[in-house]
């Protein structure tokens, strides 16, 4: 199956600041792909590159099979884009905005638009600038979903919204999930956990992983090893074991390549005196925290080494 969104070694620099470092990802058709990461990780930049709002420094991006740098005009009939940062035409009423958008899309589904307006309880006669942030996002959603685009791109769509509004928006998205591929960014793990089929994690412009949610949940395990006496710090553990913490006789770590019995055997061999070894599945939030902490410590170490090399004569 051809990916709907694909990037290859995508880089973006703003002057001397690198916002993205060689990001490569692929979003299969029908997926709900959640791009997660902290604020400033580069999620919005990546989405703007995909939407041809920004141009990449190097690398390439493909959207719906075409080069993202050529994305313009009619191609946007197939893409529904909503961003928390988007400036809507505030002088228009909700109704006027939807009426203005309609002729641009031959496949505009008036019934769906009406249904969404009713579902969101949108006041058609109110100007967009007079609406609350949540209401504006709802209006943007209607204008982006009513033509049933094959690709829906959402940049932090739920940020700062109250739970009720967020649930309404997620519900509307899930209605279209079967017919559209959804690419969304978020820094709130909880809100996408129930929604996403695929997930990518950006940390300081680097994509640390990008895979199916089920595969991600399957390969991450929190391992708790209980030793007979106080444990010493271990430097000889495999690279796939991250976020290693020693507390008294307990060693806790995150195994990033869990493969059932083989992994359990491998851990048992690393800790032959262990009284017990427990492998717990991890929630998404815990996975990201572990990966983020590990990445940060790796970066700090690399930075310290680089500084040490610089200081030496």
């Amino acid at each position: 199956m051809n990916p709907v969104v694909r990037t290859e070694s995508l880089q973006k620099h703003f002057g001397r600041t690198a916002a993205l470092h060689g990001v490569s990802l692929a979003v299969p058709e029908g997926a709900i792909y959640a791009l997660v990461g902290r604020n400033g990780a580069g999620k919005t930049t990546l989405i703007k590159l995909l939407m041809n709002i920004l141009r990449p420094t190097t690398g390439s991006a493909y959207v719906l099979g075409g080069d993202a740098r050529r994305l313009a005009g009619k191609e946007f009939c197939s893409i529904g884009y909503v961003s928390e940062n988007q400036d809507l035409p505030g002088w228009m009423t909700v109704g006027a905005m939807l009426e203005f958008c309609r002729p641009f899309y031959p496949q505009w589904d008036g019934d769906l638009a009406d249904r969404l307006v009713a579902q969101f309880d949108l006041p058609l006669e109110r100007r967009l600038r007079q609406l609350s942030r949540g209401m504006r996002m709802k209006a943007a959603f209607v204008s982006a979903l009513a033509y049933r685009p094959p690709l829906i791109v959402l940049d932090e769509p739920f940020s700062g919204l109250d739970p009720l509004v967020r649930d309404e928006l997620i519900e509307s998205l899930l209605e279209l999930a079967g017919e559209s591929t959804i690419f969304l960014s978020s820094h709130d793990l909880a809100e996408i956990e129930s929604l996403a089929s695929h997930v990518g994690y950006l940390e300081e412009g680097r994509l640390l992983f990008s895979e199916e949610m089920s595969a991600l949940s399957a390969r991450f395990r929190e391992v708790t090893v209980t030793l007979p006496e106080t444990a010493a710090a271990r430097e000889d553990l495999p690279a796939a074991w991250i976020d290693v913490q020693v507390s008294g006789a307990a060693v806790r770590l995150v195994h990033t390549q869990y493969q059932g019995e083989a992994t359990e055997r491998q851990v048992g061999e690393a800790f032959p005196a262990a009284r017990s070894i427990v492998f717990d599945p991890m929630p998404l939030r815990a996975i990201f925290l572990a990966v983020a902490k590990s990445e940060r410590s790796r970066t700090r170490m690399a930075q310290a080494n680089a500084n040490a090399r610089t200081v030496k004569p």
């Binding site: 920004l54 313009a72 228009m92 958008c101």
Partner: protein, 551 residues
């Protein structure tokens, strides 16, 4: 087309208030501007409509600027948060919608306003259609930069700040240039434009650059590149100006006359001319005065050269369009200036008409002047001349009040006592779209009060004459109003000496208006040896005498 009209309708709905303001301002302009003309104002006295008219010269362009800014910023081209950039807008259609808006709601009202004013004055707008269309091109010099600025800014505030910044920078640059360089012969020739159709080349440069900026922004949204391109426009205009003033271009517009040509100029001495000068007040306003104001006299010295034409064929006129002086000392480097604009007209000297006598002047650096004045210097003058011959004449008795010179102007004879200024009579004329082709107006004055003394033909002090117009081939000149108003003739003026009986233009005075057509342009030159630069302003005691104009 559907998308174009769809966006156009949206813009009209959004900007109906600004459109209304702009159209009302333009309509008011059409109504009020004729009331600002001096003749009308004098007849009607002070009225608010005159003040409104003057105010509209500011309000109308402001309303256009606001409308253009709001129009373009409806779909901003700068930034990465705009709603429209991720919608199926096709940029050529978006641009076409904006162009349609500007055409229908700015250009067309402007055209109609100009036509309405022409019609009010009594000119048929259809017979001036080429000029009216050319005015649209000229007014694009306002619209296109505004469109370009709107295209490289994200909102009205930023656009206003940009305009303010540009004005501040231009002001600083010009003040720095003025304080370090000052006015000199090299930059006072900025108005001399030997290319036919006036400054069309500059106009096209501005329009092309702004057009490129607008298209680039709509097609690619490359704000930085577009801003740099827009910023380059003044430099490109300067470059075109520089190229237009190059010797090659001037030689093309004014072909050189060969030495063997009977037209070559020669010099005559002061003495030969003294007899002709008797009784002719040639220097009443020029002698000892300066043609340059606001210059630093410590840095610059003014040199004046008196010119007189002779041998001009009867009826013909020669207009001195420009001259180029070169001062060469016996030892040391010569001082060579660029072409300097002039508007002097030479006619047949035998008529004893002092229009034949002129003084041209130019500036040289003080340091050069000090170096040259103690040396034997030769002056070389190149002249760019245009020959004119009478094309048509109008003879009439001067009426009091409004009258028309058919196909030329709508005029008013004003008794200036009503203006509560000096005791003279003036003729003010309104010309459609541009200053007309060169013409003379000659009238016979009356000595003493109009009601007592009739005109006395034969008295040399009674004819009064003035040249007016030029040979610019362009069908219109830049302006919001399509009419140009000027005093084409005024009486001899107030003289405080009670022994001198004043002369006046009076109703019924015979008036002759003769309009000329261009025959040819050429370039020639003279060399004056032993040029004495002592004294200041330097009034060079030489006469330039023209030889035969025709083989």
């Amino acid at each position: 087309m559907k998308q174009i009209l769809h966006i156009f309708r949206k813009d009209v709905r959004r900007l109906w208030m600004e459109i209304l303001v702009s159209i009302v301002a333009v309509a008011l302009f059409a109504w009020a501007i004729p009331k600002t003309w001096i003749s009308v104002y004098v007849a009607a006295g002070s009225k608010p409509s005159r003040e409104i008219g003057h105010l509209l010269y500011i309000i109308v362009p402001l309303s256009w600027g606001l409308l253009i800014a709001r129009l373009i910023h409806g779909e901003p081209l700068v930034g990465d948060r705009q709603f429209w950039i991720t919608r199926p807008y096709e940029w050529p259609k978006l641009l076409a919608a904006k162009v349609l808006f500007v055409l229908l709601l700015i250009y067309i009202p402007f055209l109609l306003m100009q036509a309405a004013i022409l019609f009010q004055v009594g000119f048929n707008p259809l017979s001036h259609l080429p000029g009216l269309l050319y005015e649209l091109l000229l007014i694009s010099l306002v619209f296109f930069p505004l469109l370009g600025l709107a295209a490289v800014t994200s909102n009205l505030v930023r656009m206003l700040l940009t305009i303010l910044g540009v004005l501040v920078v231009l002001g600083l640059v010009s003040s720095i240039v003025f304080s370090t360089v000052g006015t000199n012969g090299n930059n006072s020739n900025a108005g001399f434009w030997p290319i036919p159709w006036g400054g069309l080349a500059s106009i096209l440069v501005v329009l092309l650059v702004c057009g490129a900026v607008i298209v680039l922004q709509y097609a690619r949204r490359r704000a930085l590149v577009a801003r740099l391109l827009l910023g380059s426009a003044p430099f490109l205009v300067l470059l075109v100006s520089f190229l237009a003033n190059s010797s090659a271009i001037i030689r093309r517009a004014y072909p050189l006359v060969a030495d063997a040509d009977p037209f070559a100029l020669r010099m005559i001495s002061d003495e030969q001319d003294d007899a002709r000068r008797a009784g002719v007040d040639r220097w009443s306003s020029n002698s000892g005065s300066t043609n340059y104001f606001n210059i630093d006299r410590k840095k610059w010295a003014e040199i004046k050269v008196e010119l007189r034409a002779s041998g001009v064929a009867a009826g013909d006129r020669w207009q001195l369009d420009a001259f180029r002086p070169t001062l060469t000392p016996a030892n040391g480097a010569p001082v060579k200036l660029d072409w300097l604009e002039s508007q002097e007209v030479f006619d047949t000297p035998d008529t004893a008409n002092y229009l034949s006598y002129h003084t041209i002047s130019f500036l040289v650096r003080r340091s050069d002047y000090e170096r040259l004045k103690s040396s034997v210097v030769s002056l070389h003058l190149d002249f760019a001349l245009t020959e004119a011959t009478p094309a048509r004449s109008w003879h009439f008795s001067l009426p009091k009040g409004d009258f028309r010179i058919p196909d030329l102007a709508s005029c008013s004879a004003i008794d200036n006592r009503e203006m509560q200024v000096m005791n003279i009579f003036a003729i003010f004329c309104r010309f459609p779209l541009k200053t007309p082709a060169l013409f003379t107006v000659t009238a016979l004055q009356t000595r003493g009060p109009c009601e007592l003394a009739p005109a006395q033909p034969g008295d040399p002090s009674l004819p009064i004459s003035r040249w007016f117009g030029n040979f610019d081939a362009a069908p219109a000149s830049f302006g919001i109003s399509p009419m140009e108003e000027s005093a084409i003739l005024s009486g001899s003026g107030y003289n405080p000496d009670p022994k001198i009986v004043p002369t006046r233009l009076c109703p019924g005075a015979p008036v002759v208006v003769t309009q000329y057509r261009k025959v040819r342009s050429l370039q020639t030159g003279i060399k004056v040896e032993n040029f004495n630069l002592a004294g200041e302003p330097v009034l060079v005691p030489w006469r330039v005498c023209q030889g035969k104009t025709k083989p």
